[in-house]
């Protein structure tokens, strides 16, 4: 194997050369560099001062947050409310259960992302995980006390909404994507109508539909709880977007693949199952990850219909008299929380795009 000589920027001459070409190449570039350095020198120290040096960290000193002489960030808010933000109103002595759910979900996401296990094993694990989650969250078996789902909340709920949302939207999305390419006009038009309708309206209207309209369509006496209704809305919404991504994957398969499958005498469902879908889904993985990121961010919209997810927990914590007025800190923390999940996923999908070569036609030009 040939090892490339590593360019060490640490060498003074190399560093000087790099500085000259990347920061001071022209007089205009030099001006930009100096302006940025000036702004950074002016803005960063006070920010650093506020966020770290003068910050109040311990909830026992909550009164200090209101002291105008200190005037630092009040991170004590997070320290005081972290259980509520992570687990909602889950009974305190049982909170190891949602904690376990969070940890196992994250572990499984990591396992899936880094291809550490074979695909059938992974699928079995995921299926098992969904059962384990249901068991841990509801309880009522193996001596676990029953916890009604009104008490689920916080980060746990955000992860559950997005994981179950995508998992359950997938079958519907595949059906819609196939339907849109179907030769049967009724099925094709229904699929197109559904996909375009959902993609044309904001998610909020779909959530409103589930929270205020759906109850009217059920027989009197039957009621579905708020969490399930929101989950259904998220699934219906995600399915339309996923369907378009899967359709993109289906379209990217060379036509000969289907013709060859047809020639070997495979029926429609066999062609779909053994020839089309495996290829389409593999091609579609990077955009699927992107759709998932969008969907994960979108779960925060349940704040509008009053479901206690990560964001709502933070918003509600702010209504306590002790913490009212610390919205800036609270929402910075919320932003950090979402970023911690979305950024690694977005890096992951960018890496996949580079590896598979799909979606990189634009980037490739730059690398030439």
């Amino acid at each position: 194997m040939i090892t490339r000589p590593r360019v060490t920027i640490a060498h003074p001459a190399a560093l000087l050369h790099w500085t000259r070409i990347r920061l001071f190449a022209t007089w205009r570039s030099s001006c930009v560099t100096l302006a940025i350095v000036y702004l950074a020198a002016k803005l960063l120290p006070p920010l650093f001062d506020w966020a770290l040096l003068r910050a109040v960290w311990s909830p026992t000193h909550a009164a200090l947050c209101r002291d105008t002489r200190i005037a630092g960030a009040c991170w004590a808010f997070v320290a005081d409310n972290y259980r509520f933000i992570l687990f909602g109103t889950f009974p305190a002595e049982e909170q190891w259960r949602p904690a376990l759910v969070i940890v196992s979900l994250l572990a499984l996401y990591a396992l899936s992302g880094f291809h550490l296990l074979r695909r059938p094993t992974l699928l079995r694990l995921w299926f098992g995980e969904l059962l384990v989650i249901a068991m841990l969250m509801w309880g009522g078996v193996f001596g676990l006390t029953y916890v009604e789902n009104e008490r689920w909340g916080g980060l746990t709920l955000t992860l559950l909404l997005s994981t179950f949302g995508i998992a359950l939207a997938f079958p519907l999305a595949i059906t819609l994507a196939l339907g849109r390419r179907s030769g049967m006009p009724l099925i094709r038009w229904l699929s197109i109508g559904y996909i375009e309708l959902i993609r044309g309206v904001p998610l909020i209207s779909v959530l409103f539909m589930a929270s205020v309209m759906l109850p009217l369509f059920l027989p009197s006496g039957v009621s579905i709880d708020k969490l399930l209704r929101a989950q259904v809305a998220m699934i219906l919404f995600a399915a339309a977007y996923l369907a378009e991504v899967i359709r993109g994957g289906l379209q990217a398969i060379p036509a000969q693949q289907e013709e060859a499958a047809l020639a070997t005498g495979l029926g429609y469902w066999d062609r779909v199952r053994y020839v089309m879908l495996p290829q389409a889904l593999r091609i579609a993985i990077p955009p699927l990850v992107n759709t998932f990121i969008g969907f994960f961010k979108d779960t925060s919209l349940v704040v509008i219909i009053g479901l206690f997810d990560f964001l709502t927990s933070i918003k509600v914590s702010l209504t306590e008299p002790t913490w009212s007025g610390f919205g800036v800190e609270a929402y910075l923390f919320a932003a950090l929380g979402y970023f911690a999940f979305c950024y690694p996923m977005s890096r992951y999908s960018q890496r996949l795009e580079r590896q598979t070569g799909y979606g990189t036609s634009l980037r490739a030009l730059r690398d030439n």
Partner: protein, 328 residues
């Protein structure tokens, strides 16, 4: 043994069965809805639109709605508010996004990294969180009107929102500056904290996506074009303006329009911070009248109309541009 149906008959049968199933499901839901509406004494139909709304809308520009006005007028004001914030946000997002796209391609390492950091940061945080954040910054961290920040002459930023000068007459140019009274501003236009937060959040968020589109569009222009222009002795600015951008625009415009669409759809998050856009007024209407089906239908119809209109306009533009491309 039953005779096997040929594929065409089977397809027909499939579709008929599906249609029957759909009709049955539709009938089931419809009868449920009728029963429920009757038992809850909720009226149906759009007659409520002409009834008195009974709520005031604090924010309006072209039309104003008082409590005595009808629901229809309230919803119209809401729609205008949606357009107002989406239009302004899209304009600024395009300016910021274009700058970001160019900055990410800058040979200056610092500038490129800062632009890249901006894009990664804003794209990976939900818009609702950003709106809450800006709203908190405006209402909690900014000073009262008496000590309003005055970054640009005529513009005052305080916890009551942003006060901006207005043009009274164009010829001769007459500008009315906001002035501070005892507790608030008079003269000029005072943009409410809700509007300012929504506008700021939407513009900055959409800009991150537009920045990526602009960058990808520029990168997709063949490198040979750039080199040929350089060989002709054109300056950097000329190359960008005359050679790269006109070609990149063809790739930029379609995804750009879908970003504008997203911007309009995202403006519906106004309901989270209490800006009276179409969705938040429709929400109030639903709560007051109980007519959820009609309320949701209005929201969906309006957004669907906007989406389809913009898509149609984009298709028209694409065809025109494709023709022009074919001719050269």
């Amino acid at each position: 043994m039953a005779r096997r149906l040929d594929p065409r008959q089977r397809a027909g049968l499939c579709q008929i069965l599906l249609l029957v199933a759909l009709c049955m499901a539709g009938w089931y839901f419809l009868t449920n809805a009728v029963d429920n509406l009757l038992s809850r004494r909720i009226a149906s139909g759009f007659g409520f639109l002409w009834r008195e709304a009974g709520f005031e809308i604090g924010e309006s520009t072209l039309l104003s709605a008082s409590a005595a006005d009808s629901y229809l007028k309230a919803l119209t004001v809401g729609l205008l508010n949606t357009f107002r914030v989406a239009l302004l946000a899209s304009t600024f997002a395009t300016l910021i996004g274009g700058t970001l796209g160019l900055a990410r391609l800058s040979p200056n390492w610092l500038l490129a990294k800062i632009a890249a950091g901006y894009v990664e940061l804003l794209r990976n945080i939900p818009l609702v969180v950003q709106l809450f954040f800006w709203y908190a910054v405006i209402t909690e961290s900014l000073p009262a009107p008496a000590e309003a920040l005055n970054p640009v002459p005529g513009f005052y930023l305080s916890n009551r929102g942003l006060a901006v000068p207005t043009i009274v007459t164009l010829l001769p140019l007459q500008i009315e500056h906001p002035t501070l009274n005892a507790f608030n501003f008079s003269g000029g236009v005072v943009l409410s904290p809700e509007f300012t937060a929504l506008f700021l959040g939407l513009a900055l968020y959409t800009a991150a996506f537009i920045g990526e589109i602009v960058r990808a569009g520029i990168l997709a222009v063949d490198r040979g074009q750039y080199e040929a222009a350089q060989a002709q002795g054109l300056s950097q600015g000329q190359i960008m303006r005359l050679i790269i951008l006109p070609q990149a625009l063809r790739l930029i415009v379609p995804p750009l329009t879908s970003q504008y669409l997203n911007c309009i759809k995202n403006s519906s998050l106004a309901v989270a911070i209490g800006y009276p856009d179409l969705v938040s007024i429709a929400n109030t209407v639903i709560n007051q009248t109980g007519q959820a089906i009609e309320g949701v239908a209005i929201i969906m119809l309006v957004y669907l109309t906007i989406s389809l209109t913009i898509s149609a306009a984009m298709n028209f533009y694409n065809r025109r541009i494709a023709l022009r491309g074919a001719r050269t």
